[in-house]
Protein backbone atom coordinates (compact mmCIF):
# COMPACT_ATOMS: atom_id res chain seq x y z
CA UNK A 1 0.00 0.00 0.00
CA UNK A 2 1.34 3.40 -0.90
CA UNK A 3 1.15 6.15 1.63
CA UNK A 4 -0.04 9.31 -0.04
CA UNK A 5 1.54 12.59 1.05
CA UNK A 6 -0.09 14.15 4.06
CA UNK A 7 -2.25 17.18 3.68
CA UNK A 8 -2.51 19.27 6.80
CA UNK A 9 -5.78 20.52 8.24
CA UNK A 10 -4.71 24.08 7.40
CA UNK A 11 -5.93 25.60 4.14
CA UNK A 12 -3.70 25.38 1.10
CA UNK A 13 -0.54 27.10 2.21
CA UNK A 14 -0.32 30.03 4.51
CA UNK A 15 -0.90 32.78 1.97
CA UNK A 16 -4.56 33.51 2.86
CA UNK A 17 -3.46 34.09 6.46
CA UNK A 18 -0.51 36.27 5.53
CA UNK A 19 -2.62 38.25 3.07
CA UNK A 20 -5.40 38.65 5.64
CA UNK A 21 -3.07 39.85 8.38
CA UNK A 22 -1.36 42.28 6.00
CA UNK A 23 -4.73 43.62 4.87
CA UNK A 24 -5.92 43.96 8.46
CA UNK A 25 -2.85 45.93 9.51
CA UNK A 26 -2.92 48.04 6.35
CA UNK A 27 -6.60 48.92 6.42
CA UNK A 28 -6.49 49.59 10.18
CA UNK A 29 -3.64 52.05 9.81
CA UNK A 30 -5.52 53.77 7.00
CA UNK A 31 -8.67 53.87 9.11
CA UNK A 32 -6.83 55.45 12.03
CA UNK A 33 -5.10 58.02 9.82
CA UNK A 34 -8.05 59.10 7.64
CA UNK A 35 -11.07 61.08 8.70
CA UNK A 36 -12.28 64.60 9.33
CA UNK A 37 -8.71 65.34 10.41
CA UNK A 38 -6.24 63.30 8.37
CA UNK A 39 -3.00 62.51 10.09
CA UNK A 40 0.34 61.52 8.61
CA UNK A 41 1.63 58.07 9.54
CA UNK A 42 4.34 59.44 11.86
CA UNK A 43 1.79 61.42 13.83
CA UNK A 44 -0.42 58.31 14.13
CA UNK A 45 2.35 56.16 15.57
CA UNK A 46 3.40 58.95 17.92
CA UNK A 47 -0.18 59.51 19.03
CA UNK A 48 -0.65 55.79 19.66
CA UNK A 49 2.26 56.04 22.09
CA UNK A 50 0.76 59.19 23.60
CA UNK A 51 3.35 61.53 22.11
CA UNK A 52 2.63 64.81 20.28
CA UNK A 53 -0.29 67.20 19.98
CA UNK A 54 -2.84 66.30 22.72
CA UNK A 55 -5.67 66.85 20.20
CA UNK A 56 -4.16 64.27 17.86
CA UNK A 57 -3.51 61.88 20.74
CA UNK A 58 -7.13 62.20 21.77
CA UNK A 59 -8.44 61.69 18.22
CA UNK A 60 -6.31 58.59 17.73
CA UNK A 61 -6.65 57.03 21.17
CA UNK A 62 -10.20 57.91 22.15
CA UNK A 63 -11.98 58.06 18.79
CA UNK A 64 -10.32 56.23 15.95
CA UNK A 65 -8.52 53.35 17.62
CA UNK A 66 -11.57 52.14 19.59
CA UNK A 67 -13.68 52.55 16.47
CA UNK A 68 -11.29 50.48 14.34
CA UNK A 69 -11.01 47.83 17.04
CA UNK A 70 -14.77 47.68 17.47
CA UNK A 71 -15.31 47.34 13.72
CA UNK A 72 -12.72 44.54 13.62
CA UNK A 73 -14.32 42.70 16.56
CA UNK A 74 -17.84 43.08 15.16
CA UNK A 75 -16.70 41.86 11.74
CA UNK A 76 -14.89 38.87 13.24
CA UNK A 77 -17.88 37.96 15.41
CA UNK A 78 -20.40 38.22 12.58
CA UNK A 79 -18.22 36.19 10.22
CA UNK A 80 -17.68 33.39 12.75
CA UNK A 81 -21.37 33.37 13.62
CA UNK A 82 -22.29 33.07 9.93
CA UNK A 83 -19.70 30.34 9.33
CA UNK A 84 -21.01 28.21 12.18
CA UNK A 85 -24.65 28.72 11.17
CA UNK A 86 -23.86 27.74 7.59
CA UNK A 87 -22.27 24.53 8.83
CA UNK A 88 -25.10 23.43 11.14
CA UNK A 89 -27.72 24.34 8.57
CA UNK A 90 -25.84 22.97 5.56
CA UNK A 91 -26.72 26.16 3.78
CA UNK A 92 -24.11 28.64 2.54
CA UNK A 93 -26.71 31.42 2.65
CA UNK A 94 -27.30 31.23 6.40
CA UNK A 95 -26.17 34.17 8.50
CA UNK A 96 -27.41 35.86 11.68
CA UNK A 97 -28.98 38.87 9.95
CA UNK A 98 -30.94 36.85 7.39
CA UNK A 99 -31.97 34.37 10.10
CA UNK A 100 -33.53 37.17 12.14
CA UNK A 101 -31.41 36.54 15.23
CA UNK A 102 -29.61 39.87 14.84
CA UNK A 103 -33.02 41.52 14.59
CA UNK A 104 -34.14 39.77 17.75
CA UNK A 105 -31.03 40.98 19.54
CA UNK A 106 -31.69 44.54 18.37
CA UNK A 107 -35.27 44.41 19.65
CA UNK A 108 -34.01 43.13 23.00
CA UNK A 109 -31.54 46.00 23.28
CA UNK A 110 -33.98 48.68 22.09
CA UNK A 111 -36.69 47.46 24.47
CA UNK A 112 -34.24 47.65 27.35
CA UNK A 113 -33.39 51.23 26.42
CA UNK A 114 -37.06 52.13 25.93
CA UNK A 115 -37.59 51.04 29.55
CA UNK A 116 -34.81 53.39 30.58
CA UNK A 117 -31.95 50.94 31.03
CA UNK A 118 -28.63 52.75 30.74
CA UNK A 119 -26.07 50.15 31.84
CA UNK A 120 -24.36 48.77 28.68
CA UNK A 121 -23.88 45.30 30.18
CA UNK A 122 -27.61 45.02 30.89
CA UNK A 123 -28.45 46.20 27.37
CA UNK A 124 -26.08 43.54 26.03
CA UNK A 125 -27.76 40.92 28.19
CA UNK A 126 -31.15 41.97 26.80
CA UNK A 127 -29.72 41.66 23.28
CA UNK A 128 -28.67 38.09 24.16
CA UNK A 129 -32.17 37.36 25.42
CA UNK A 130 -33.69 38.86 22.28
CA UNK A 131 -31.42 36.74 20.09
CA UNK A 132 -32.33 33.60 22.04
CA UNK A 133 -36.06 34.34 21.66
CA UNK A 134 -35.62 35.01 17.93
CA UNK A 135 -33.73 31.70 17.59
CA UNK A 136 -36.58 29.84 19.27
CA UNK A 137 -39.22 31.60 17.17
CA UNK A 138 -37.38 31.04 13.90
CA UNK A 139 -36.73 27.34 14.53
CA UNK A 140 -40.28 26.79 15.81
CA UNK A 141 -41.76 28.58 12.78
CA UNK A 142 -39.71 26.52 10.38
CA UNK A 143 -40.69 23.32 12.20
CA UNK A 144 -44.40 24.15 12.14
CA UNK A 145 -44.29 25.03 8.46
CA UNK A 146 -42.51 21.98 7.19
CA UNK A 147 -40.96 19.40 9.46
CA UNK A 148 -37.64 20.25 11.03
CA UNK A 149 -35.28 19.54 8.17
CA UNK A 150 -35.73 22.22 5.54
CA UNK A 151 -33.25 25.02 6.05
CA UNK A 152 -34.76 27.07 3.23
CA UNK A 153 -37.87 27.46 5.38
CA UNK A 154 -35.63 28.48 8.25
CA UNK A 155 -34.18 31.28 6.11
CA UNK A 156 -37.67 32.43 5.12
CA UNK A 157 -38.79 32.39 8.72
CA UNK A 158 -35.67 34.36 9.56
CA UNK A 159 -36.35 37.08 7.03
CA UNK A 160 -39.90 37.44 8.35
CA UNK A 161 -38.73 37.62 11.97
CA UNK A 162 -36.13 40.20 10.92
CA UNK A 163 -38.84 42.34 9.29
CA UNK A 164 -40.93 42.06 12.45
CA UNK A 165 -37.92 43.10 14.51
CA UNK A 166 -37.39 46.23 12.40
CA UNK A 167 -41.04 47.12 12.79
CA UNK A 168 -40.82 46.62 16.55
CA UNK A 169 -37.79 48.92 16.75
CA UNK A 170 -39.64 51.64 14.81
CA UNK A 171 -42.67 51.31 17.07
CA UNK A 172 -40.56 51.38 20.21
CA UNK A 173 -38.76 54.53 19.09
CA UNK A 174 -41.73 56.20 17.35
CA UNK A 175 -42.64 58.69 20.07
CA UNK A 176 -39.02 59.42 20.79
CA UNK A 177 -37.68 62.93 20.14
CA UNK A 178 -36.07 63.47 16.71
CA UNK A 179 -32.54 62.80 17.93
CA UNK A 180 -33.68 59.41 19.24
CA UNK A 181 -35.10 58.61 15.80
CA UNK A 182 -31.55 58.67 14.60
CA UNK A 183 -31.08 56.02 17.26
CA UNK A 184 -33.61 53.80 15.50
CA UNK A 185 -31.65 54.15 12.29
CA UNK A 186 -28.47 53.39 14.23
CA UNK A 187 -29.94 50.08 15.39
CA UNK A 188 -31.46 49.11 12.08
CA UNK A 189 -28.56 50.02 9.83
CA UNK A 190 -25.59 49.59 12.09
CA UNK A 191 -22.75 51.94 12.98
CA UNK A 192 -19.45 51.82 14.79
CA UNK A 193 -19.64 55.55 15.59
CA UNK A 194 -20.51 54.99 19.26
CA UNK A 195 -17.34 52.98 19.83
CA UNK A 196 -15.76 53.35 23.25
CA UNK A 197 -13.18 51.39 25.14
CA UNK A 198 -16.06 49.91 27.11
CA UNK A 199 -17.83 48.58 24.01
CA UNK A 200 -14.49 47.32 22.68
CA UNK A 201 -13.90 45.43 25.92
CA UNK A 202 -17.37 43.87 25.94
CA UNK A 203 -17.10 42.85 22.29
CA UNK A 204 -13.64 41.39 22.81
CA UNK A 205 -14.83 39.36 25.79
CA UNK A 206 -17.83 38.02 23.87
CA UNK A 207 -15.72 37.14 20.83
CA UNK A 208 -13.08 35.43 22.92
CA UNK A 209 -15.59 33.40 24.92
CA UNK A 210 -18.17 32.48 22.27
CA UNK A 211 -15.67 32.27 19.42
CA UNK A 212 -13.61 29.80 21.43
CA UNK A 213 -16.69 27.63 21.97
CA UNK A 214 -17.30 27.51 18.22
CA UNK A 215 -13.65 26.75 17.42
CA UNK A 216 -13.67 24.08 20.10
CA UNK A 217 -16.74 22.46 18.53
CA UNK A 218 -15.50 22.88 14.97
CA UNK A 219 -15.05 19.16 14.36
CA UNK A 220 -18.64 18.57 15.42
CA UNK A 221 -19.56 21.20 12.84
CA UNK A 222 -17.64 19.23 10.20
CA UNK A 223 -19.78 16.20 11.05
CA UNK A 224 -23.06 18.14 11.31
CA UNK A 225 -22.40 19.61 7.87
CA UNK A 226 -22.75 16.08 6.45
CA UNK A 227 -26.47 16.07 7.24
CA UNK A 228 -28.46 14.83 10.21
CA UNK A 229 -28.50 11.08 9.54
CA UNK A 230 -24.83 10.71 8.61
CA UNK A 231 -23.92 12.92 11.57
CA UNK A 232 -25.98 10.75 13.93
CA UNK A 233 -24.25 7.66 12.52
CA UNK A 234 -20.85 9.20 13.26
CA UNK A 235 -21.69 9.78 16.91
CA UNK A 236 -23.05 13.33 17.17
CA UNK A 237 -26.24 14.01 19.11
CA UNK A 238 -27.53 16.05 16.18
CA UNK A 239 -30.48 17.94 17.67
CA UNK A 240 -28.64 18.87 20.83
CA UNK A 241 -25.42 19.89 19.10
CA UNK A 242 -27.23 21.95 16.46
CA UNK A 243 -29.24 23.71 19.14
CA UNK A 244 -26.14 24.57 21.14
CA UNK A 245 -24.18 25.82 18.17
CA UNK A 246 -27.17 27.80 16.90
CA UNK A 247 -27.51 29.48 20.28
CA UNK A 248 -23.79 30.25 20.67
CA UNK A 249 -23.70 31.68 17.14
CA UNK A 250 -26.77 33.81 17.90
CA UNK A 251 -25.17 35.20 21.01
CA UNK A 252 -22.01 36.01 19.13
CA UNK A 253 -24.16 37.98 16.70
CA UNK A 254 -26.11 39.55 19.59
CA UNK A 255 -22.89 40.87 21.11
CA UNK A 256 -22.08 42.61 17.83
CA UNK A 257 -25.61 44.04 17.64
CA UNK A 258 -25.35 45.46 21.15
CA UNK A 259 -22.10 47.16 20.13
CA UNK A 260 -22.87 48.32 16.60
CA UNK A 261 -26.51 47.66 15.69
CA UNK A 262 -27.62 45.53 12.74
CA UNK A 263 -24.91 44.86 10.20
CA UNK A 264 -25.98 42.34 7.61
CA UNK A 265 -24.25 40.11 5.07
CA UNK A 266 -20.78 40.02 6.69
CA UNK A 267 -21.67 36.59 8.09
CA UNK A 268 -22.79 35.55 4.63
CA UNK A 269 -19.93 36.79 2.45
CA UNK A 270 -16.88 36.11 4.59
CA UNK A 271 -17.23 32.35 5.34
CA UNK A 272 -17.80 31.73 1.64
CA UNK A 273 -14.66 33.73 0.93
CA UNK A 274 -12.73 31.64 3.47
CA UNK A 275 -13.94 28.45 1.78
CA UNK A 276 -12.91 29.84 -1.59
CA UNK A 277 -9.45 30.35 -0.06
CA UNK A 278 -9.32 26.60 0.58
CA UNK A 279 -10.45 26.41 4.23
CA UNK A 280 -12.75 23.38 3.98
CA UNK A 281 -12.82 22.17 7.56
CA UNK A 282 -14.59 24.34 10.09
CA UNK A 283 -11.71 25.08 12.43
CA UNK A 284 -9.50 26.85 9.88
CA UNK A 285 -12.61 28.20 8.15
CA UNK A 286 -13.91 29.88 11.32
CA UNK A 287 -10.52 31.36 12.19
CA UNK A 288 -9.91 32.62 8.67
CA UNK A 289 -13.45 34.04 8.64
CA UNK A 290 -12.72 35.97 11.83
CA UNK A 291 -9.64 37.49 10.18
CA UNK A 292 -11.37 38.50 6.95
CA UNK A 293 -14.52 39.60 8.77
CA UNK A 294 -12.35 42.04 10.69
CA UNK A 295 -10.72 43.28 7.47
CA UNK A 296 -14.07 43.68 5.72
CA UNK A 297 -15.75 45.62 8.49
CA UNK A 298 -12.81 47.95 9.21
CA UNK A 299 -12.75 48.73 5.49
CA UNK A 300 -16.55 49.13 5.36
CA UNK A 301 -16.48 51.50 8.34
CA UNK A 302 -13.68 53.50 6.75
CA UNK A 303 -15.82 53.86 3.61
CA UNK A 304 -18.92 54.65 5.67
CA UNK A 305 -17.34 57.67 7.29
CA UNK A 306 -15.20 58.98 4.42
CA UNK A 307 -17.16 58.51 1.15
CA UNK A 308 -19.77 61.20 1.91
CA UNK A 309 -17.83 63.06 4.60
CA UNK A 310 -18.71 64.92 6.70
CA UNK A 311 -21.93 62.84 6.54
CA UNK A 312 -21.68 59.22 7.65
CA UNK A 313 -23.26 56.34 5.80
CA UNK A 314 -24.85 53.61 7.89
CA UNK A 315 -22.40 50.72 8.18
CA UNK A 316 -25.12 48.17 7.39
CA UNK A 317 -25.89 50.02 4.15
CA UNK A 318 -22.28 49.62 3.01
CA UNK A 319 -22.19 45.90 3.83
CA UNK A 320 -25.59 45.37 2.20
CA UNK A 321 -24.37 47.01 -1.01
CA UNK A 322 -21.60 44.39 -1.11
CA UNK A 323 -23.64 41.53 0.33
CA UNK A 324 -26.85 41.59 -1.68
CA UNK A 325 -25.22 41.02 -5.08
CA UNK A 326 -23.20 38.24 -3.47
CA UNK A 327 -26.35 36.69 -1.98
CA UNK A 328 -28.01 36.73 -5.40
CA UNK A 329 -25.00 35.11 -7.08
CA UNK A 330 -24.96 32.38 -4.41
CA UNK A 331 -28.72 31.87 -4.76
CA UNK A 332 -28.12 30.69 -8.33
CA UNK A 333 -25.69 28.08 -7.04
CA UNK A 334 -27.91 26.58 -4.34
CA UNK A 335 -31.10 26.64 -6.43
CA UNK A 336 -32.27 23.05 -6.96
Amino acid sequence: MTVAPRTSAAPRGAWPWILGLALLVGVSVFAIAFGAVSLPLGTVTDALRGVGDPANVSIVRELRLPRVLLAALVGAGLAMSGGALQGTMRNPLAEPYLLGVSGGAAVGAVMAMAFGVQVPAVITACAFAGAAVATLVVTALARVVGGSGDTRLLLMAGVVVGAFANAAILVALADAPPERLRGALWWMMGSAADASWGSVGRSAAALLLLGTVLVWRARELDVLALGSEPAAALGVDVDRASRHIFLVSSWLAAATVAAAGLVGFVGLVVPNLARAFGARQHRPMLLLSALYGAVLLVAADLLARTVRAPAELPLGAVTALVGVPFFLSQLRKVAP
Binding site: V3, D222, G235, Q281
Partner: protein, 275 residues
Protein backbone atom coordinates in the same frame (compact mmCIF):
# COMPACT_ATOMS: atom_id res chain seq x y z
CA UNK B 1 3.49 -1.16 11.95
CA UNK B 2 0.57 -3.48 11.54
CA UNK B 3 -2.26 -1.91 9.67
CA UNK B 4 -4.98 -1.48 12.27
CA UNK B 5 -7.85 -2.90 10.25
CA UNK B 6 -6.11 -6.02 8.98
CA UNK B 7 -6.57 -8.09 12.13
CA UNK B 8 -9.76 -10.13 12.06
CA UNK B 9 -12.56 -8.20 13.64
CA UNK B 10 -14.69 -9.84 16.26
CA UNK B 11 -18.27 -8.84 15.68
CA UNK B 12 -21.00 -8.36 18.22
CA UNK B 13 -24.40 -10.00 18.05
CA UNK B 14 -26.92 -7.30 17.13
CA UNK B 15 -30.33 -8.33 18.38
CA UNK B 16 -33.67 -6.66 17.84
CA UNK B 17 -36.02 -7.81 20.56
CA UNK B 18 -39.74 -7.12 20.16
CA UNK B 19 -39.20 -3.73 18.53
CA UNK B 20 -42.24 -1.54 18.04
CA UNK B 21 -41.87 1.83 16.35
CA UNK B 22 -44.76 4.23 16.08
CA UNK B 23 -44.42 7.70 14.55
CA UNK B 24 -46.60 10.46 15.95
CA UNK B 25 -49.72 11.04 13.86
CA UNK B 26 -49.57 7.70 12.05
CA UNK B 27 -52.39 5.22 12.63
CA UNK B 28 -50.24 2.10 12.26
CA UNK B 29 -46.87 1.29 13.79
CA UNK B 30 -43.94 1.32 11.36
CA UNK B 31 -42.51 -1.76 13.08
CA UNK B 32 -44.12 -4.23 15.47
CA UNK B 33 -42.81 -7.27 17.29
CA UNK B 34 -39.67 -7.28 15.21
CA UNK B 35 -37.32 -9.85 16.68
CA UNK B 36 -34.20 -11.25 15.05
CA UNK B 37 -30.45 -11.37 15.58
CA UNK B 38 -27.60 -10.48 13.24
CA UNK B 39 -24.63 -12.69 14.13
CA UNK B 40 -20.91 -11.98 13.84
CA UNK B 41 -19.20 -13.16 10.69
CA UNK B 42 -22.39 -13.32 8.67
CA UNK B 43 -24.26 -11.07 6.30
CA UNK B 44 -27.78 -10.61 7.61
CA UNK B 45 -30.04 -9.03 5.03
CA UNK B 46 -33.27 -7.17 5.67
CA UNK B 47 -35.57 -7.16 2.67
CA UNK B 48 -39.15 -6.18 2.03
CA UNK B 49 -41.36 -3.97 -0.13
CA UNK B 50 -41.37 -0.18 0.05
CA UNK B 51 -42.84 0.98 3.33
CA UNK B 52 -42.29 -2.38 5.04
CA UNK B 53 -40.20 -0.76 7.79
CA UNK B 54 -36.63 -1.36 6.61
CA UNK B 55 -35.59 2.24 7.01
CA UNK B 56 -37.32 2.54 10.37
CA UNK B 57 -35.24 -0.39 11.53
CA UNK B 58 -32.04 1.45 10.61
CA UNK B 59 -33.40 4.60 12.22
CA UNK B 60 -33.73 2.76 15.54
CA UNK B 61 -29.94 2.41 15.43
CA UNK B 62 -29.55 6.11 14.63
CA UNK B 63 -31.93 6.91 17.55
CA UNK B 64 -34.12 8.75 15.12
CA UNK B 65 -37.16 6.48 15.34
CA UNK B 66 -39.62 6.50 18.26
CA UNK B 67 -39.14 3.02 19.77
CA UNK B 68 -42.13 2.53 22.07
CA UNK B 69 -41.51 -1.11 22.95
CA UNK B 70 -38.69 -3.60 22.71
CA UNK B 71 -34.95 -3.31 22.91
CA UNK B 72 -31.94 -3.33 20.65
CA UNK B 73 -29.12 -5.40 22.15
CA UNK B 74 -25.43 -5.54 21.37
CA UNK B 75 -23.98 -8.75 22.80
CA UNK B 76 -26.99 -8.89 25.16
CA UNK B 77 -26.49 -5.31 26.37
CA UNK B 78 -29.27 -2.79 25.74
CA UNK B 79 -28.04 0.12 23.59
CA UNK B 80 -30.59 2.55 25.06
CA UNK B 81 -28.25 3.93 27.76
CA UNK B 82 -25.41 4.54 25.29
CA UNK B 83 -24.93 8.08 24.01
CA UNK B 84 -24.48 8.78 20.31
CA UNK B 85 -20.70 8.75 20.62
CA UNK B 86 -20.50 5.42 22.47
CA UNK B 87 -22.88 3.82 19.99
CA UNK B 88 -20.87 5.10 17.02
CA UNK B 89 -17.82 3.35 18.49
CA UNK B 90 -19.67 0.03 18.22
CA UNK B 91 -22.01 0.37 15.25
CA UNK B 92 -21.16 2.03 11.94
CA UNK B 93 -24.03 2.90 9.64
CA UNK B 94 -23.94 3.78 5.96
CA UNK B 95 -27.21 5.67 5.70
CA UNK B 96 -29.41 5.39 2.67
CA UNK B 97 -29.11 8.96 1.50
CA UNK B 98 -26.34 11.46 1.90
CA UNK B 99 -26.03 14.48 -0.32
CA UNK B 100 -22.47 15.69 -0.78
CA UNK B 101 -22.32 18.93 1.19
CA UNK B 102 -19.49 21.41 1.27
CA UNK B 103 -16.53 19.70 -0.42
CA UNK B 104 -13.75 18.05 1.60
CA UNK B 105 -10.75 16.04 0.55
CA UNK B 106 -11.60 12.32 0.61
CA UNK B 107 -8.92 11.91 3.26
CA UNK B 108 -10.66 14.46 5.48
CA UNK B 109 -14.08 13.04 4.74
CA UNK B 110 -13.09 9.50 5.73
CA UNK B 111 -11.28 10.86 8.81
CA UNK B 112 -14.69 12.05 10.05
CA UNK B 113 -15.34 8.35 10.64
CA UNK B 114 -12.88 8.68 13.52
CA UNK B 115 -14.95 11.46 15.11
CA UNK B 116 -16.42 9.31 17.89
CA UNK B 117 -12.94 8.18 18.96
CA UNK B 118 -11.11 11.50 18.83
CA UNK B 119 -10.91 14.44 21.19
CA UNK B 120 -12.05 17.91 20.20
CA UNK B 121 -8.52 19.13 19.53
CA UNK B 122 -5.32 17.66 18.20
CA UNK B 123 -4.19 16.22 14.91
CA UNK B 124 -5.24 12.69 13.99
CA UNK B 125 -2.96 10.01 15.44
CA UNK B 126 -0.90 7.63 13.31
CA UNK B 127 -3.49 5.00 14.17
CA UNK B 128 -6.27 7.22 12.80
CA UNK B 129 -4.34 7.95 9.62
CA UNK B 130 -3.45 4.30 9.03
CA UNK B 131 -7.05 3.28 9.61
CA UNK B 132 -8.30 5.84 7.09
CA UNK B 133 -5.87 4.57 4.45
CA UNK B 134 -6.66 0.95 5.25
CA UNK B 135 -10.39 1.66 4.99
CA UNK B 136 -9.99 3.29 1.61
CA UNK B 137 -7.98 0.31 0.38
CA UNK B 138 -10.63 -2.10 1.65
CA UNK B 139 -13.40 -0.14 0.01
CA UNK B 140 -11.39 -0.25 -3.22
CA UNK B 141 -11.12 3.51 -3.57
CA UNK B 142 -7.60 4.21 -2.25
CA UNK B 143 -6.62 6.17 -5.35
CA UNK B 144 -9.25 8.83 -4.54
CA UNK B 145 -7.61 9.83 -1.25
CA UNK B 146 -6.40 13.21 -2.48
CA UNK B 147 -9.48 14.09 -4.52
CA UNK B 148 -12.33 16.23 -3.27
CA UNK B 149 -15.75 14.79 -2.53
CA UNK B 150 -17.45 16.94 -5.17
CA UNK B 151 -15.38 15.26 -7.90
CA UNK B 152 -16.55 11.69 -7.19
CA UNK B 153 -18.89 9.63 -9.37
CA UNK B 154 -21.92 7.92 -7.81
CA UNK B 155 -20.06 4.63 -7.37
CA UNK B 156 -17.00 6.33 -5.91
CA UNK B 157 -19.17 8.34 -3.54
CA UNK B 158 -20.77 5.13 -2.19
CA UNK B 159 -17.38 3.53 -1.70
CA UNK B 160 -15.96 6.56 0.05
CA UNK B 161 -18.98 6.52 2.39
CA UNK B 162 -18.41 2.83 3.08
CA UNK B 163 -14.74 3.62 3.75
CA UNK B 164 -15.80 6.26 6.28
CA UNK B 165 -17.95 3.67 8.06
CA UNK B 166 -15.01 1.22 8.05
CA UNK B 167 -12.81 3.93 9.56
CA UNK B 168 -15.15 3.89 12.56
CA UNK B 169 -13.53 0.50 13.23
CA UNK B 170 -16.70 -0.97 14.73
CA UNK B 171 -17.80 -4.52 15.42
CA UNK B 172 -21.10 -3.99 13.63
CA UNK B 173 -21.58 -2.52 10.16
CA UNK B 174 -25.02 -1.54 8.87
CA UNK B 175 -25.61 -0.62 5.24
CA UNK B 176 -28.94 0.83 4.13
CA UNK B 177 -29.52 0.29 0.38
CA UNK B 178 -25.84 0.74 -0.47
CA UNK B 179 -26.28 -0.05 -4.16
CA UNK B 180 -29.10 2.30 -5.12
CA UNK B 181 -28.09 4.21 -8.26
CA UNK B 182 -25.20 1.84 -9.00
CA UNK B 183 -24.77 -0.12 -12.24
CA UNK B 184 -24.30 -3.90 -12.26
CA UNK B 185 -20.52 -3.93 -11.93
CA UNK B 186 -20.47 -1.41 -9.10
CA UNK B 187 -23.35 -3.16 -7.41
CA UNK B 188 -21.63 -6.56 -7.55
CA UNK B 189 -18.42 -5.00 -6.25
CA UNK B 190 -20.24 -3.56 -3.25
CA UNK B 191 -21.89 -6.92 -2.48
CA UNK B 192 -18.54 -8.69 -2.71
CA UNK B 193 -17.03 -6.09 -0.41
CA UNK B 194 -19.86 -6.57 2.09
CA UNK B 195 -19.32 -10.33 1.95
CA UNK B 196 -15.58 -9.94 2.54
CA UNK B 197 -16.13 -7.60 5.47
CA UNK B 198 -18.40 -10.14 7.15
CA UNK B 199 -15.90 -12.93 6.51
CA UNK B 200 -13.35 -10.91 8.51
CA UNK B 201 -15.58 -11.39 11.53
CA UNK B 202 -17.77 -8.30 11.58
CA UNK B 203 -21.48 -8.39 12.08
CA UNK B 204 -23.01 -7.04 8.86
CA UNK B 205 -26.62 -5.94 8.55
CA UNK B 206 -27.56 -5.17 4.97
CA UNK B 207 -30.82 -3.52 3.98
CA UNK B 208 -31.47 -4.10 0.31
CA UNK B 209 -34.04 -4.25 -2.45
CA UNK B 210 -31.93 -6.63 -4.48
CA UNK B 211 -33.49 -9.96 -3.55
CA UNK B 212 -31.49 -12.00 -6.01
CA UNK B 213 -28.15 -10.60 -4.90
CA UNK B 214 -29.19 -10.93 -1.28
CA UNK B 215 -30.00 -14.59 -1.98
CA UNK B 216 -26.44 -15.09 -3.21
CA UNK B 217 -24.58 -13.16 -0.54
CA UNK B 218 -26.59 -13.23 2.69
CA UNK B 219 -26.46 -16.13 5.12
CA UNK B 220 -29.49 -14.89 6.99
CA UNK B 221 -32.48 -13.09 5.50
CA UNK B 222 -35.24 -11.23 7.31
CA UNK B 223 -38.30 -10.39 5.22
CA UNK B 224 -40.37 -7.49 6.53
CA UNK B 225 -43.97 -6.84 5.57
CA UNK B 226 -46.04 -3.98 6.95
CA UNK B 227 -43.63 -3.63 9.85
CA UNK B 228 -43.67 -7.28 10.86
CA UNK B 229 -41.25 -10.11 10.22
CA UNK B 230 -43.00 -12.15 7.52
CA UNK B 231 -40.25 -14.73 7.21
CA UNK B 232 -36.72 -15.17 8.51
CA UNK B 233 -34.02 -17.75 8.09
CA UNK B 234 -31.64 -18.94 5.41
CA UNK B 235 -32.20 -18.30 1.76
CA UNK B 236 -34.32 -21.43 1.24
CA UNK B 237 -36.63 -20.49 4.08
CA UNK B 238 -37.35 -17.00 2.78
CA UNK B 239 -37.01 -17.15 -1.00
CA UNK B 240 -40.21 -19.06 -1.59
CA UNK B 241 -42.76 -18.16 -4.20
CA UNK B 242 -45.84 -18.29 -2.01
CA UNK B 243 -44.24 -16.10 0.68
CA UNK B 244 -42.77 -13.48 -1.64
CA UNK B 245 -45.85 -13.30 -3.85
CA UNK B 246 -48.02 -12.51 -0.84
CA UNK B 247 -45.61 -9.94 0.60
CA UNK B 248 -44.84 -8.12 -2.65
CA UNK B 249 -48.40 -8.52 -3.91
CA UNK B 250 -47.20 -9.34 -7.41
CA UNK B 251 -47.14 -12.61 -9.38
CA UNK B 252 -43.69 -14.15 -9.49
CA UNK B 253 -41.88 -17.43 -9.66
CA UNK B 254 -38.84 -18.59 -7.79
CA UNK B 255 -36.36 -20.47 -9.94
CA UNK B 256 -32.69 -21.35 -9.51
CA UNK B 257 -29.87 -18.93 -10.14
CA UNK B 258 -28.04 -20.60 -13.08
CA UNK B 259 -24.66 -19.40 -11.83
CA UNK B 260 -24.67 -20.57 -8.23
CA UNK B 261 -27.86 -22.55 -7.80
CA UNK B 262 -29.44 -20.45 -5.08
CA UNK B 263 -33.12 -19.55 -5.40
CA UNK B 264 -33.75 -16.61 -7.71
CA UNK B 265 -36.86 -14.54 -8.05
CA UNK B 266 -38.45 -13.82 -11.40
CA UNK B 267 -41.32 -11.33 -11.38
CA UNK B 268 -44.02 -12.03 -13.98
CA UNK B 269 -45.99 -9.52 -15.99
CA UNK B 270 -49.00 -8.06 -14.20
CA UNK B 271 -52.12 -10.10 -13.58
CA UNK B 272 -54.05 -11.00 -16.69
CA UNK B 273 -51.11 -10.63 -19.06
CA UNK B 274 -49.43 -13.54 -20.70
CA UNK B 275 -45.68 -12.86 -20.76
Amino acid sequence: MTAPGSAPRVGAALAFDGIRVQYAGRPLPALQQVTFTAHPGLVTAVVGPNGSGKSSLVRTLLRRAPVIAGRVLLDDRDIAPLDARALAQQVAIVTQREEPGMPLFVREFVMLGRHACRGAFGAPSDFDRALVEESLVKAGIADAIDRTTDSLSGGEWQRVRIARALAQDTRVLVLDEPTTFLDIAHEMAVFELVDALAKEGRTVLLVSHQLNLVARFAEHIVLLDHGRVAAAGDVNAVMRGEILEAVYNWPLVVTRDPAVGVPALLPLRGRGRSR
